[in-house]
């Protein structure tokens, strides 16, 4: 499907988001729960701020030396008998992956959750060569069964759907006959998928962190699907965004700690799995073949820019879970598989301003994201950087806004002119608030009153008071 998930305009998307009251209620209750779970898990550490600082340092260091660590990682994986493919584009990645599938004459592929495989449209590529690709994360599976409904959250992809909708989809597509109870739906999914797992030719996983020094890839899940994917099929392919690397096990545990606590408020997720190479001689189970695909897809262009720190992201979704804009418009409004604050920064970088020009403005700059980020990415500042780019480099801002800002600059730097503005405001003063304003102001007054300027501005009051000798100086 690629990163872009909609051809609708931003206005249309947000409009349907705002009108979807069930989705919003579900999103808000999820946000509330995840928020307090995260805060409790952070407080439980006692020195969370220092952990965040440590996380920031580790990410900063690793990305600064990314070439070194990727080389080390690939050398180690190779020493263990695994194969590594560096893919600069989605095409390169998909070509390599489909080639493996063809060599193995694979009919069926099981997959655990991976955002980067969505980004590169891997499923479609595999389907085109005749593979059945099955998502095994419960949320992703539901979306897949529902004719590839796009994900709306990077950790809880089906957050926008309610149980009745899921029941109906299952009934229609899978002949499900049970109720809408999550337990029953889940049990049914387990049975459907277990059978597929046992027959699958290839397992494909994402990667939360790869450990360079030992050639390890690690996966966190609560469901255990990533374990099945990497245990049952004879061939394993792991696809990772190139920034998902850490130097050693010692840094790894810090990031795992930050990830589990920030994303779901758990001390550790139910399963944390660290896989180091294919099955070695004498081992009872595990894949015979292991392939690691390292994807760039626009990431290297972010290096060395003011946006480099977005590559520090560990995909915990803490920023999404506190974002008030996300809470009212939902994930699909962002038009990208990466929603929320991180999505508003990342999507234009990977997909260009043309498709995602509104996203940097879809924020009140309240800073809740920055406060929540476990690796201290200054998210709201990066949104401002995007706006600067659009104004100064891309010249994408509206003419009226540019005029306004020119006037603003003149006023802000010429006190006399500013004073004239204040005087003018005093002149239009009136008793009542403004219920319907002209131009842009109408966007405000459509839903709220705007105060009328006061007859006497503060500066006039102050000047009079000073003249009357009541000043303290």
């Amino acid at each position: 499907m690629g990163m872009k998930i909609s051809d609708q305009s931003f206005e249309d998307r947000t409009k349907s988001g705002i009108e979807d009251l069930f989705m919003r209620e579900n999103v808000q209750s999820a946000q509330d729960r995840l928020r307090s779970a995260r805060l409790n898990a952070a407080e439980d550490m006692g020195d969370w701020e220092e952990w965040r600082k440590m996380g920031e340092d580790i990410r900063n260091h690793t990305i600064q030396h990314l070439d070194y660590y990727l080389k080390l990682l690939s050398d180690k994986v190779s020493e263990l008998g695994g194969h590594v493919h560096f893919a600069r584009t989605p095409e390169e990645a998909n070509e390599y992956i489909t080639q493996i599938a063809e060599e193995k004459k694979a009919k069926s592929v099981v997959k655990s959750k991976s955002m980067v495989t969505e980004e590169i449209g891997m499923n479609e590529a595999l389907e085109a060569v005749g593979c059945e690709v099955l998502e095994t994360d419960l949320g992703e599976y539901i979306l897949q069964v529902d004719e590839h409904d796009p994900p709306s959250h990077i950790v809880a992809p089906a957050l926008h759907k309610n149980r009745e909708q899921i029941r109906d989809v299952y009934q229609e597509r899978l002949g499900y006959e049970g109720t809408e109870e999550p337990e029953e739906l889940t049990r049914f999914t387990r049975e459907q998928l277990r059978e597929k797992f046992m027959k699958a030719d290839i397992g494909i996983t994402g990667c939360n962190f790869a450990i360079a020094e030992s050639g390890t890839v690690s996966l966190v899940t609560n469901e255990g699907n990533a374990r099945l994917v990497s245990t049952v099929p004879k061939t394993q392919i792991t696809v990772m965004g190139m920034e998902r690397v850490v130097p050693t096990w010692k840094e790894w545990e810090v990031l795992i700690t930050l990830l589990a606590r920030s994303s779901v408020g758990q001390k550790l997720t139910t399963y944390v799995t660290a896989l180091t190479g294919p099955r070695q001689k004498g081992e009872v189970d595990g894949p015979d073949d292991f392939h690691l695909v390292i994807v760039d897809n626009g990431r290297s262009k972010i290096l060395g820019t003011e946006f480099q720190s977005i590559l520090h992201c560990i995909r915990c979704a803490a920023c999404i879970n506190v974002c008030p804009v996300y809470s009212h418009v939902g994930g699909h409004s962002y038009g990208s598989i990466y929603p929320g604050p991180v999505g508003a920064i990342l999507s234009p970088l990977l997909g260009g301003y043309e498709d995602y020009k509104e996203l940097p403005y879809a924020s009140s700059l309240c800073g809740a994201c920055t406060e929540a980020c476990p690796v201290k990415i200054p998210l709201h500042e990066l949104l401002v950087r995007h706006r600067e780019n659009m104004v100064e480099k891309e010249k994408k801002s509206e003419m009226s806004e540019r005029m306004l800002m020119k006037m603003f600059k003149f006023g802000a730097t010429h006190p006399k002119f500013y004073q004239l503005g204040v005087n003018a405001a005093e002149k239009v003063s009136r008793e009542k608030d403004i219920k319907r304003g002209p131009g842009l102001m109408n966007n405000w007054t459509q839903s709220r009153d705007f105060p009328a300027p006061k007859k006497e501005s503060f500066r006039k009051w102050y000047a009079n008071r000073k003249q009357n000798g009541r000043s303290s100086s």
Partner: protein, 223 residues
Amino acid sequence: MNGKIHNRERFLDEVRENLNKTLDSDRPLRKFTNPLAKSKSQLFSEEQLVEEFTDQSERLGIEWFRVNKSDLAQKISDILARFDTMRVSVWNDQETRSMVKGLPDNYEILFEGDSNQVLGHAETADFGITTCDYALAESGSVVLMNSRDKARAISLLPKRYIALVPKERLIYRITDVAKEVDEMDQVPTCINFISGPSNSADIEMDLVVGVHGPMEVFYIIVD
């Protein structure tokens, strides 16, 4: 035999170019140690670790027991008897084999040492039993270093799972494990940190247990 590496130089050149740097000749990182996780394993007494571990396990919905080694077989068979148990899949390493000695013979006990059978056996088993390499007090986790006869599938495919936890394997947190693994010459192919039964909250954030892996998890701490 070494695996193949494709397309690396061009890819890394581009990374380097954008970072505006040259190739690091040496390892760029000063030796990192996590200064915050002062090893509580050493500060906590064994009993404190047990207390924390069992507390956390309860929160995860794990039923735990604590027995002397001599009562272990009885305790395992008590648990098995509570369910409609027929087949039990067990790690084939020496330690686990010796720990489950003395189980009544009304169960079919499968020691998983044959790579052709392990998946099929584990898939149909009612219980999986393994020991663990570490247990983490902070998170109520068991850590399994799967290798040779210690198959990954045993803690994953059976309906229910029992982890045997020798008391001296208890340490405080993941930091302690990472430190040990970091010092190993050869890292085990698969290390699993397991904290409770398989679960998901993907449907309306409602927590459901038993999505893909075991639906119930039991810990037996062995003194």
